[in-house]
């Protein structure tokens, strides 16, 4: 299955260290927040991409495997991902949203992260429109709905919440801090992975 990304690095057939060498080079040309997919056949890339992401601060999202090809997803870190101020006045904590999920109340959850982030772990029942596409796709949403906006750390959802409210949405709530600290049930795309390598949700 395909996940929408900003850039694909094809390192199939290349041995270590080339998959990481190419990823690193491609990453330099991406903007913060964009998502890169690394396609590799070298099994060593599975552990190395995670270790590399950890060492560089980029956000490792997950790996899926199709036949002999591994697809690794990494989101470029934002150097100043130090909190922008959350300006949107209406917010709930993760735990409150978790509680609402247990209730019979009718509401919507909009996840504004990148599709690859969403694919590797999301709140059950949420819908994905990445922040960058929201202005064009705003017509898909109903301004009357009670809608909880979630992202990874609360920044992108803050921007999305402000935008939607400006556009006349009446009942928008920002979820903080977001998926980075979500402890409730996580739903993810089903990937078939061989061996004991499990899909790993990113932080």
């Amino acid at each position: 299955m395909d996940i929408k990304v900003d850039h694909v690095v094809d390192a199939k057939g290349l041995a270590c260290p080339m998959p990481i060498v190419r990823t690193r080079k491609a990453m330099n040309d991406l903007n913060a927040g964009q998502v890169l997919e690394l396609q590799a056949t070298d099994k060593g890339s599975v552990a190395d991409i995670q270790a590399w992401a950890k060492s560089t601060g980029h956000q490792f999202l997950g790996t899926q495997q199709e036949n002999d090809v591994y697809r690794h997803y990494v989101r470029k870190s934002e150097p100043d991902e130090v909190k922008e101020e959350i300006t949107f006045p209406h917010s709930v904590r993760n735990e409150e949203l978790e509680g609402l999920l247990e209730s019979s109340r009718e509401f919507h959850i909009l996840d504004v992260r990148e599709p690859a982030e969403y694919a590797f772990g999301r709140v059950r029942g949420s819908r994905n429109i990445p922040l960058g596409e929201l202005p064009q796709r705003i017509g898909e949403l109903n301004p009357e709905d009670e809608m909880y906006i979630i992202c990874r750390t609360g920044n992108r959802s803050n921007m999305a919440a402000n935008l939607l409210t400006e556009k006349g949405f009446k009942n928008i709530i920002n979820v903080v801090p977001g998926m980075s600290e979500w402890t409730g049930i996580v739903e993810r795309d089903e990937f078939e992975l061989k061996n004991k390598i499990k899909p790993i949700g990113g932080k």
Partner: protein
């Protein structure tokens, strides 16, 4: 070429050459460029080997962070998982002007599979016995040769080295034996017997669940090779597993499997029966081995630390010496013994349950999966860490 432009180049070190360095306790500095998790799980060890870990991806901007930590006076070996990254980093270190820089041929993958055959000695009845040292993993296997025939004991997963060795020495492999159902490595016993037409022998009590046919090792029913002159005498010594069997070869060499090592003793917990088997283990060590001649040469199926290797890389000891020096043979109190072999044990070997299933023929992983399952240290002894 003038002195000033002397061409420096990255050199290849074979697993054989590295084995000589480890066994000879030579000095070597190793830069391991695998990721931290792989490094902390398992690395090259040696008495005079100094090793540091900097993942290759932290050196892509330049090798200066590594150069600062590498003494210019020592031989340097760069190591990675397979070989590519060590060449990549090694070449940059050479470009930076360092001399005596090597990369490890085949990386840790090949290191974990390399077998070094070392002659243990001649047999009184005619013939010789070799130890195959799998130095990267701490596994020991054996070939007994006599009169154009051979027996292989505790075969490693890679069977080609035995086949080549037998061909080189002009012997035919007649029998393939395992001292027990292994939990730390995949036995090549069945594959080797199929490839050579040899009979495959297992202790029946360890083989109750195997899915293939085999010959039953029975105590005191000796196997003979070399026109019947050399005998392999099975002795039932349970404790590491319920079937564990010791082989006395030519009345001189005692192949103890995973019951008795040079610096430690076997652990009883890998088949999930630690409590049940403690008594068996104690009896095998303190009841059976203790009654055997001091001069027997103990040849185990593992070593724990490279310090157990002699200068040639071989692992052996006189039984009498072990009753003096081996801590596992010097626990007089039964309660203390029970505690020693059941509590505070080292972590269990990587994928040991899948390895047991594979050795029983219950699962058939492919070659790559088998290799993966065997990665890491063996940890079959009580005192490994």
């Amino acid at each position: 070429m003038s002195e000033e432009t002397k061409q420096l180049s990255l050199m290849k070190m074979t697993p054989h050459a590295l084995t000589q360095i480890v066994a000879g306790q030579e000095e070597l500095f190793i830069l391991d460029v695998r990721n931290e998790a792989e490094f902390s799980d398992w690395k090259i060890e040696g008495e005079n080997i100094e090793i540091i870990n900097i993942p290759y991806f932290d050196l892509l901007d330049g090798v200066d962070p590594a150069l600062e930590r590498i003494p210019a006076s020592k031989r340097l070996l760069v190591v990675c998982a397979k070989e590519g990254s060590s060449q990549f980093i090694g070449e940059q270190i050479v470009e930076a002007g360092r001399e005596h820089v090597y990369y490890l041929e085949g990386g840790m993958k090949q290191w974990s599979e390399y077998l070094e055959p070392i002659k243990v000695g001649d047999l009184k009845s005619g013939g010789e016995i070799y130890q195959f040292v799998r130095i990267g993993k701490g596994c020991l296997s054996y070939m007994v040769l006599s009169g154009g025939e051979a027996v292989v004991i505790d075969t490693a997963r890679m069977i080609q080295p035995y086949i080549d060795f037998a061909a080189m020495h002009g012997v035919q492999i007649k029998h393939v034996l395992d001292t027990h159902l292994h939990a730390d490595h995949i036995s090549g016993g069945r594959a080797l017997s199929e490839a050579t037409g040899a009979s495959y022998w297992l202790p029946p009590k360890d083989a109750e669940e195997v899915t293939f046919s085999y010959h039953e090792l029975v105590e005191n029913e000796d196997l003979l090779i070399g026109d019947g002159k050399v005998n392999i005498h099975p002795i039932y010594t349970p404790g590491h597993t319920i079937g564990s069997t010791t082989f006395l070869v030519d009345s001189e060499y005692l192949l103890t499997g995973d019951i008795l090592f040079v610096a430690s003793i076997g652990r009883p917990d890998l088949a999930g029966k630690a409590e049940d088997w403690v008594g068996d283990l104690r009896h095998s060590l303190y009841g059976l081995y203790s009654g055997m001649p001091d001069g027997l040469i103990v040849l185990p199926a593992h070593f724990g630390k490279v310090t157990e290797l002699d200068k040639r890389g071989q692992v052996s000891a006189k039984l009498g010496d072990l009753f003096t020096d081996n801590p596992g043979l010097n626990i007089s109190d039964e309660t203390t013994f029970r505690r020693t072999v059941t509590e505070n044990l080292p972590p269990q070997p990587h994928a040991y349950q899948e390895i047991r299933q594979t050795n029983m023929g219950k699962i058939q992983p492919d070659e790559e999966e088998r290799r993966e399952m065997e990665m890491g240290p063996n940890r079959c002894a009580v005192h490994d860490h």
